[in-house]
Amino acid sequence: MVQSLDRLKESPSQTAGPYAHIGLTPNFSGISGVYESDLGVAMVNEKTKGERIAVKIRVIDGSGTPLKDAVVEIWQADAAGLYNSPSEMRGAADPNFTGWGRQATDMATGECLFETVKPGRMPFPDGRLMAPHITIWIVARGINIGLHTRMYFGDEEAANAEDPVLARIEHRVRVATLIAPRDGDTYTFDIHLQGERETVFLDI
């Protein structure tokens, strides 16, 4: 016999279901008066440093239909590449930038829009720099465990080319599924849950 490691097991995930809006974005779902505003709707204020951008996200199922009942969360560094988190040990992030956003996809179009700033670069654990990116987490009815992925920026070709995470993607044709094209100040990112263009999801 040896000593026990005394580890617990992570609670199993269950789908967020069709009514995740009630809990996560109640004002959006029409339940007003409980919370002042939905968490995560505002990431920036007038003092936030960095280049203002918009990120338009759709989550598309295997039939090509955008999900109209999904909730999308994003998490990103500030313009200097620092996270607004206690686990960020490299310095203080911009106090006027939360780094975290949450939006429900529109019940008619399936789109959601984040108003944010373009993040800076930050190191991979081995010290190499990662390209600017946004971490994305998706839940919805029919999604049994929240899906992690990343969005990279289409106008950061040089940084993307040396990104250690993108470099790990074996089938190079799939790298493009993580890169959002830019049009004006807006990046458009379509996430495909399955099919020929299935987005690369992360076990992270």
Partner: protein, 250 residues
Amino acid sequence: MTERMSNRRPETGAFFRRDLNAHPPAYAPIYKTSVLRSPRRALLSLDGTLSEITGPVFGHNILGELDNDLIHNFAKPGESAIGPRIIVYGKVLDERGKGVSGALLEFWQANAGGRYRHKKEGYIAALDPNFGGCGRTITDEDGSYAFRTIQPGPYPWPNGPNDWRPAHIHFSIFGHGFAQRLITQMYFEGDPMIWQCPIVRTIPDRAAIERLVAALDMEATIPMDARAYKFDIVLRGRRSSLFENRLEGN
């Protein structure tokens, strides 16, 4: 995002590997909606980077007085929601058994008749004008939390021709890193509907399902007021960064 309610030194290690065998697979045909919404290709496995070992923090200042009281937070003054009054309490722990302080919990549920307050909900059960169905709280220093609500009802849903959800409460949990992000559901001890439910049965392991079943706790019950259910939630553990941090500190 505001100050953390703790003087504990923040942890910066990467998270333990997620045991995907203890979670439902993405593709679970008994739950029909998962068929077209499930990635089919292998996930790209990575050890956590800064983007996943960090995460947002929520201060107690976001909380309103009734956020953890679903019996009253949508009710007219002097009125309350209809249904069996219960207290749900427990701890948010990580896989090392450590309490997770400052974790934001958000919960949502149907009313006592099994009806959600949502424009896409079509079940014939009545809405309760005094019940909204959402609440939230933040864990204490040792990971403890509690809230008050009514016990939700079971309800039918379109999947098979006669599928019913067991009574359940949805939970969304933020730990200390974005990699710990979790949404799950709490079920009630003794409910025979648990073992019939296709969504429950997407979890392949019976012992894992049992970790989502809250225990009735008569000792924590408030006499003549509310019964209590204990529901502990476990998030991924994380490695110590003692031997990992480079001197430069990243």
